[in-house]
């Protein structure tokens, strides 16, 4: 069995390494019990109120994700890369950030946007095809969701460095996937961040597949987190389905960055429960048995169990959270059925801050074309009306 299917990760046969066996750091185990201390890597469990908040956000985010996947299947959206199963990484990353910090997400991280307060309609505008990025990036301090892999990691390093140069406290956090770590820009971002001691946190969601390609075809080393050593920064290999661990490690990394101690690389080991996008067919490359294994490690179920056991989640609270999730799903359905007109002439408005004669010409050309179409449509309408009138005249 390839090592990416097995949480116990016995990869010593692949690489002889002087490092300790890679066992993911965790605070709450698969079954919802507090993990033994030797797995906690010195991190403490967040308090129950924090955990309850993370739980609520994960439940709401999952309901949103499932709803959007359904809307995509109904043809309301052109595409949607789901983060089902990855809620712990996504929500922990956002929860670790302050209002002044910047998030640099990818196309798979829509639930991170949701958790940081972006309205569903603005998140989905790009997937519906309205515009390439549909939210107010500055208001939310969220860069556009990056499509070219790992490119946004360099932007995060640059912004973090600017914050440091201006002696401000802003930290940048970027989300990456396992496949993206093969890109040159990931390497350059890790290296620049370490050399410049930039206040930046890299959260790699290792969901084990880059579309269809498993991690053992991306790299030869044991974990992505190990790579941090080579760049001279701390790296953490974390159970990416344990939101308590992801939150504890990410918060600590953010605060370290803020305190001037430089970057951190965090790998969350998780699993992409859905296809890459709606146009993908994972049955061609994944063992369906893996889904069952990972369903048993579900981030929401295990936290639910834990919170119930410590008496921090009542049935009434759970029902309340579910109602909130259902309300959001209903809002999402409603906003996606609303018509969203686009303005073809806006195509020319944002390319440059300084007006260009050539673009003004092309805008006028398109405007004239649109006027002509409108006129034709009007003529056609008149013709139909006249024909209807003539026929009704004959008939009467």
């Amino acid at each position: 069995m390839p090592h990416h299917c097995d949480m116990s990760l016995n990869v010593e046969s692949l690489v002889e390494s002087p490092l300790a066996a890679p066992r993911p750091l965790r605070l709450i185990d698969d079954t919802g019990r507090a993990a033994p201390l030797d797995e906690a890597g010195g991190f403490a469990l967040p308090d129950p109120a924090t955990l309850l908040n993370l739980y609520r956000r994960m439940v709401v985010a999952r309901r949103f994700d499932v709803q959007v996947t359904a809307l995509t299947r109904q043809g309301r959206l052109a595409t949607y890369p789901s983060a089902l199963g990855q809620e712990a990484c996504e929500i922990a990353a956002v929860a670790a950030l302050g209002a002044e910090d910047w998030l640099f997400p990818t196309y798979r991280d829509s639930i991170a946007l949701l958790t940081r307060g972006v309205p569903p309609e603005h998140i989905l505008a790009s997937f519906r095809g309205d515009w390439h990025s549909g939210y107010d990036q500055n208001a939310h301090r969220i860069a556009p969701q990056a499509t070219p892999l790992a490119t946004q990691a360099l932007h995060a390093v640059g912004l973090a460095t600017a914050s440091k140069l201006k002696r401000e406290r802003t930290v940048a956090l970027t989300l990456l996937g396992d496949g993206a770590t093969s890109e040159g820009d990931a390497h350059e971002a890790f290296n620049f961040a370490a050399v410049w001691q930039a206040p930046v946190v890299f959260v790699v969601q290792n969901n084990q597949y880059a579309i269809s390609v498993p991690l053992d075809k991306q790299m030869r080393c044991r974990t992505i987190a190990d790579k941090a050593i080579g760049y001279g920064m701390p790296g953490y290999f974390v159970d990416g389905n344990d939101v308590a661990a992801m939150y504890a490690v990410t918060s600590s990394a953010v605060e370290n960055a803020r305190a001037g101690h430089g970057p951190t690389l965090i790998e969350g080991l998780t699993y992409r429960m859905e296809a890459h996008t709606n146009s993908d067919d994972p049955s061609r490359y994944r063992d369906p048995g893996d889904l069952e294994i990972w369903r048993r490690r579900d981030p929401i179920t295990r936290l639910d169990t834990y919170l119930c056991e410590i008496g921090a989640l009542s049935d009434a609270e759970r029902a309340d959270i579910r109602a909130e999730a259902e309300d959001l799903a209903a809002d999402t359905r409603e906003c996606m059925t609303r018509s969203a007109p686009v303005d073809p002439l806006e195509l020319f408005d944002h390319v440059y801050s300084t007006p260009r004669a050539a673009l003004a010409e092309q805008r006028a050309f398109l405007a004239a074309e649109l006027d002509e179409h409108a006129e034709h449509a009007e003529h056609a309408e008149h013709a139909v009306a006249a024909s209807v009138a003539a026929h009704s005249g004959v008939n009467s």
Partner: protein, 337 residues
């Protein structure tokens, strides 16, 4: 566009400056006037750049504003994007034309598109300086003319000065510009000299200028070929040919007005560049001038350019670069009546 000087740069007594020194002064004055201007790249710090364009800036402004980056061009441009998003005005250097290619994705996919992608919410006021073109006896990868890659990309402003005065004025304007600018510096002109009283202000960065008036032919040049065009016009006098020389200065946007007016006057035009002809920038110039001025033309617009081959090694570059002789021969292929 006016320069956003917090305090106007005082006028200094005239001095003789090379283009490299004029570029240096432009960055220095911009940094003195605007604390958000930062400079980084390969060897731009204590060394002052391999062409000494950033000489002395590290000493004056220190590590926080002038720094040597790790040796990775995508990293340089990618981090400059993040800095520009956070209120800085980065000026970065790609050490040589062909070394800008690792940054191609960051430039094409993000620098050029960020403003449009975000409906103008995120502007990227950054300058990417690229020493380009040949005629310096450089080894492979040190003499490319890559301008058509950038001009084919909507969202970029692409300019190239040909003399010290423009070098100063256009770089000041590029740094002050809210849009990203690809600033192409013709290496062979770095040592060209002029007497200047700084801060010199020439025509706006995005306009072409008529450098020499003429009545028979419009010769369109930019960057390194401007000098060749002027030498050609001088030689042509003896042949009774009056050549008007235009320095485009801005490749994107293209100044249709200035170039079109000249063409309608002379009715003949040729465009010069070092880059290969096929799919080169001259093809765009010839096509759009023809589309807009066909009935004023007495002859097809010529492209006099490098051959469609990779840039040659030092002993062979003299056969590759357009010379005044080659230009005059090409103009002689037109029917003159």
């Amino acid at each position: 566009m006016t320069l956003p000087d917090t305090a106007p740069t005082p006028l200094r007594a005239p001095v003789t400056l090379t283009m490299a020194a004029a570029l240096n002064a432009a960055i220095q004055d911009a940094m003195r006037n605007d604390p958000t201007v930062v400079l980084f790249g390969e060897d731009v710090g204590p060394l002052g750049g391999v062409f000494r364009v950033t000489d002395g800036l590290y000493a004056e402004f220190g590590e926080s504003r002038v720094s040597d980056s790790p040796l990775a061009e995508s990293g340089i441009v990618g981090t400059a994007i993040g800095m520009a998003m956070y209120g800085l005005r980065p000026v970065v250097e790609m050490q040589f034309d062909a070394f800008s290619y690792p940054a191609f994705e960051q430039i094409v996919s993000h620098v050029a598109k960020m403003r449009n992608r975000t409906r103008g919410r995120i502007q990227l006021p950054l300058v990417i300086r690229i020493p380009y073109a040949g005629d310096i006896g450089g080894v492979e990868h040190h003499s490319d003319s890559s301008e058509a890659y950038w001009t084919a990309t909507p969202g970029l402003t692409v300019v190239s000065p040909s003399n010290p005065a423009d070098a100063y004025s256009m770089l000041r304007e590029a740094i002050a510009c809210d849009d990203p600018v690809i600033f192409l510096e013709p290496k062979s002109r770095y040592w060209a000299k002029a007497e200047l009283s700084l801060p010199v202000r020439t025509a706006p960065m995005t306009t072409a200028v008529v450098l020499r008036e003429g009545t028979d032919v419009t010769l369109i040049a930019y960057g390194p070929t401007v000098k060749t065009a002027l030498a050609t016009a001088e030689l042509a006098v003896a042949e009774g040919l009056s050549i008007e020389v235009i320095d485009l200065r801005s490749l994107s946007p293209f100044d249709d007005e200035t170039v079109g007016a000249s063409l309608r006057k002379t009715s003949r035009a040729a465009v010069l560049h070092e880059a290969a002809q096929f799919g080169g920038y001259g093809a765009e110039v010839a096509a759009r001038l023809t589309e807009r001025n066909f009935y004023h033309l007495a002859a097809p617009i010529l492209r006099i350019t490098g051959f469609d081959i990779p840039y040659p090694s030092p002993k062979l570059e003299q056969y590759f670069l357009p010379t005044p002789d080659r230009i005059l021969t090409a103009l002689g292929t037109w029917e003159w009546n």
